[in-house]
Structure formats: C-alpha cells, structure tokens
Symmetry: C2
C-alpha cells in the first residue's frame, strides 16, 4: 500500500487541474474537498476520484470554466444554476450563500441545478458548522437503491449531511447515504471475491444476493424508511430545482465519457444558531451530550461508543501523520496523469 | 373489535376535554390530531392515547390553560415557550408561525421548549404542505433507542416528518421514527406472546432478544445511521431549545402520573416552494415522480409499490367509511371516561 503526503498531494493535484485550465475556484474546492475527505477516511469520495474527475473535465462533462449564477428569491432563499461546474465548487458557493442568508435573516436555503458530482457532502456541512451555523447538505445521484417493494433501483444513494459546532473539537458531522451500504463496498467485495451479507444488495429481479457480482441494487438503510428518506432528498434536490430525478440521471461511470451532462441537483440549508440559543451555550450543551454518549457502557468491552463523525476524526488525525493510503491500481492512474505524483509519497 | 365513527367520536372527545377545562385551542388540536392519526391507521399515536392524555391533564403534567409565548428572532426564525401545553396545540401554533415566516422571507424555523408529547408529527407537516410549503417536524422523546455500540438506550424514537404537496391527492408525507420499529409494536407482540425478530430490540445488556418481555431498547433504523439521525433530531430539538435530551426525559408512562413536567422539545421548518419553483410545476413534477414509483414492477406480483404515506392514505379512506377500530381494553377506558362514548360506535 502506497501512501500520499496530504500537503504534497494537494499541491500536485492543483497543478494538474491548472494544466487542464480548470477555473481557479473549482481547482481550489476540488483539491480541498478530495484531500479532506481522504484524510477523514472516506475513500469512496476522496482522492480516488481525482483521475475520473480529470477525464470528466477533459471530456467536457464537467464544465472547466463555469458561469455559476445565483439569484436571491427572498430574505432567506436563493436558487443557483451551476452551469455544470464541479459540484465541489458549486456546493461551496451555495453553502456560503446559505450561511450569508442565515446571518441576515436566521436561515438560508439554496437550491442548485445543473451541477455534477459534489464529492462528500460533509465538505459543505462543515463550512456551515465552522461559522456557528447548523448545516444541511443533500444531493441526488443516479439510481442505485432498490425502491422498497419493487424489483429495481429508482433513487440514488441520496446522502443526508447534518452538522453542528462542538465546544472542544471539530463539528459534529453526520454524513450518510440513505442506502445501508455504499456501492463502493460491493465493489470491494467483488475485488476480494468475498460473499456479501444477504441484506446488503439485490439482483436484477430484486432478490437478495450474497454474490456481489450479481448485485444490481442496494438495500435502503432501515428498509422503507431509508427509501422514504432517499425520496425526500430527491424532492429537496431535483423536484425543487426542476432537475432530473435519480432514475433519469446518467450513471457516473457510464461510457462513453463524453460531453453530455448529468444534471445533478443539490440542496443546502444553514441555520444561524444565535437566533435560537447563545452559540457558546449551544456548543457546550452539545459537547456535554456527545461526551455522555461516548462514556456509555460499551457493548463490546474496550470498544468505546462513538457518535457520527468520530471514525472520520480518528482517521483524520492518523492520516495527517501517516499519509493517505492508495492502492496499486489507483496509484498507477495518478502516475499516468503525471509522474510527478511519485514525489508526493509519504516518507 | 369495536369501531368508532370518526365524527361522533371527535364531538364526544371535545366534550370530555371541555369538561376538564382544557383550553379551547388545545381541545381543537388534540381532537383533530388524534382522529386524523387514527383514520390514517397510526394506532400508536391516535385516539388510543386519549384516556392517557386526560389523566395527564388532570394530574397537571400537561397544562390545561397554557400561556404559549412566541418570539420572533429574525425574519425567518422564532422561539416558543409552550408552557407545558398539549404538544398538539404548541406544534400547530409553531408550524403555523413557520409557514407565516416562510411566506414572508422564504423559509421559517421555530424551536419549541417546555412542551409535551405532540402525537403524530404528520399532523404538523400536513398543515405546511397544504399551504404550498415543504414541511419538516421533529420532536425528541424519552430514551428508548439503543445507542449504537452501547448497551443501553440514550435517545428516543425521535421522529422525522417531511411533507410536500402533490397535484392530484393529499400531500406526500414521510413520518418515521428513527428506530426500526416502534415500542408499541413490541407491546403488541407481548400481548400476543409471540417472538419478535432478532433485529428489533435488545435486552438490558444490549444483546438482541426474541422474547419481547426481555426487550429494553430498540434497534435504530439502519443501525448507526438511525442512531445518527436520532441524535440529529435531539440537536435540532433539545440542544437548540435548551431543553432536556432524551436520556433526561421522564418516560411517558412513568408513575406516579403527577404534575412534574416532561420538558419535551420540538423543531419545525417550512419552506415556501414558490421561492424555488412555480408551485403548480412542483406539484406536477412530484406527482409524476410518485406515479412512476407506484408503477415500478413489484417484487411480489399484485403488491403495488408504495411511497411514504400511501398506507396511511389507504387507511384514511377505509376508516372514514368503516370507522376507527378499538380493542376491548381501550374501549372500556373510553367508557370509564364517559358512558356517552357508546353512542360513537360505528353502525
């Protein structure tokens, strides 16, 4: 297993994006999001996606030089046309606008259309929480999750991200797909030719499978409840923005990788905590609650209870020192982009 | 099985509450919520709770004559002190205020403290959706859901309700506890002395149980994901309002049923759809999406695919004609309140 030093890697990724004439603001957010996400241990949405993003920008599917337009439609609302920008860029502008609206009127909501894959939703939620807001980030995606009671997938893994500031550490961060497990996890089991648990995925007929190669759709988290939450996300994203719903979005890895657009929609909200509570009191009370959860008697001795985001915080600390692991295939893809990436290896 | 006619029952319930000097607005919302909820088939949160509510009001746990105070803290935010009113009343005022704020500035959020059990969250979400808003309703509750990785419960079943208007029918309504099943379901299996599936509940040591009598905590929906969502709800409710978190809330049926307060917190949001999309277009697009889901090839032939709220809509139609079923024990409790309830039996 090769490891990248986060700082060196970030600098080289920025160079590669600049060589491809990617808009400077897009460049900054793509690099920041991917590196942060990998440091947080979320390998499905981190630097592993970088080679794909480069190809998608080269093909024109992602717009390298977008004209993002945003219109306020009320004291607490705005709509954005992302002009097929990197979703990381569009989302960062949108959550920034939601925070600005929240400062002015208590909350802000921004609906985004004509966007692309935005990476990890946490990247945006954390921006809000670091500015003393509660943050929400949602996106739709291509159909991968089986509709409850049906044979086939209809909505995407449609994530829900919710963030809130803590007193003594980085924010509380829930960032969850509304499927029980990610498609990435199915892919890992395929590579390792291992059986998957029978409640993870379904075949083309909607029957549960243990052979990962026969998996065609994922189980929603909590069965009909996760299906309902996924539908909520597509309402907040696609229906509100007038964009395509999951079933009509071209899969991320569909070939040919050409200039046709995916038309992904996002939705962001920020709430100004100070309109409800003294922010310092809020952070103290939330910290106390989080600390109490962590001190509950663990089910398995020695395995402390964790709250949402704790595994990511642990990974962040470890990988900031040890570097970001990358497997041989992906490492080769980075070297194919530029042999310079060899110099980003962690010592 | 006895059945009540909804209209006759509502009139008699209102008389019983008036005899107990319940505030007229509380009276109206308690009756409307309980009857609507039972018609929608949600027996855990409908008229079955009426005798308990009467006792709780008589004991002073619920304030019969509350002074609900609401303060705007921004163009889109308000905070409410519910003065231990019936949660049905407090919640209806709060979602009404959220809709008013949304009309004025695009969205509205209202944080509620010092409240009591509010019944079904859908009652509030539907009020928003019927006024061309997206609605959100949340409440915390006493600890019943096992903290993921711990031995014991920490948060309540902390529901999430999300609503949106449709073109040809009553609104889309997702109203879900963040536990996999409700405690009520465990109680049903206890009464019927049946085994529960092993993934529903846990014993005092946090081990999964099939004997419902040994169940002490519920499994969150989607495991750590439902646990995270439950925590999100307690942040939006208790931490924002400065109220008690799940672990510190007195159980609903704790004895003695005295005047000590439960201090439940709620949180409501409304979004004015017209700030994002032409409302008629939104309703048409959402209707088209819902219709497509319902027409997906069903997993089990003849069992059409449903979206969130469809089982409740079917129940509403059936029970509006056939009446609301009530078991012998509960029927006796109604008769103990007043023999008049005999006249509310459906023909």
């Amino acid at each position: 297993m090769t490891r990248f030093d986060a700082g060196k890697l970030a600098a080289l990724m920025a160079v590669e994006l600049a060589r491809r004439h990617i808009d400077p603001e897009s460049n900054q957010h793509v690099v920041a999001s991917l590196v942060q996400t990998s440091l947080r241990g979320v390998d499905s949405h981190g630097i592993n996606l970088f080679p794909h993003y480069c190809r998608a920008a080269e093909a024109g599917r992602i717009n390298s030089r977008p004209h993002i337009s945003i219109s306020r439609t009320g004291p607490s609302t705005a709509v954005m046309d992302a002009d097929h920008a990197f979703g990381h860029h569009a989302g960062a502008v949108a959550i920034g606008e939601a925070v600005t609206l929240a400062r002015q009127s208590g909350m802000g909501a921004v609906s985004v259309r004509n966007s692309t894959h935005f990476g990890a939703a946490a990247y945006f939620g954390l921006i809000a929480a670091e500015r003393d807001c509660l943050g929400f980030a949602f996106t739709n995606a291509d159909a991968l999750v089986k509709a409850f009671g049906a044979k086939e997938a209809f909505f995407g893994t449609n994530p829900i991200c919710f963030t809130a500031p803590l007193q003594n550490e980085s924010p509380f961060c829930l960032d969850m797909a509304t499927s029980l497990v990610s498609w990435n996890k199915i892919n890992n089991y395929r590579r390792e030719t291992r059986s998957i648990p029978s409640h993870w995925a379904f075949d083309a007929e909607g029957k549960s499978v243990t052979d990962p190669h026969r998996a065609r759709s994922l189980n929603p988290a909590g069965e009909y409840k996760g299906f309902g939450l996924g539908m909520m996300v597509d309402i907040l994203c696609a229906i509100l923005a007038g964009g395509s719903i999951g079933k009509d979005i071209k899969p991320m890895y569909a070939l040919p990788l050409d200039g046709s657009k995916r038309g992904i929609s996002h939705f962001f909200m920020a709430l100004d905590i100070s309109r409800f509570s003294e922010p310092a009191l809020f952070r103290r009370n939330l910290q106390a609650m989080v600390d109490r959860v962590r001190l509950l008697p663990p089910l398995n001795p020695g395995e402390a209870v964790m709250v949402s985001g704790d595994p990511e915080k642990k990974s962040f600390l470890r990988r900031s020192v040890e570097g970001i692991p990358i497997d041989g295939t992906k490492y080769a893809e980075f070297l194919a982009l530029s042999p310079e990436f060899k110099s980003a290896r962690a010592p």
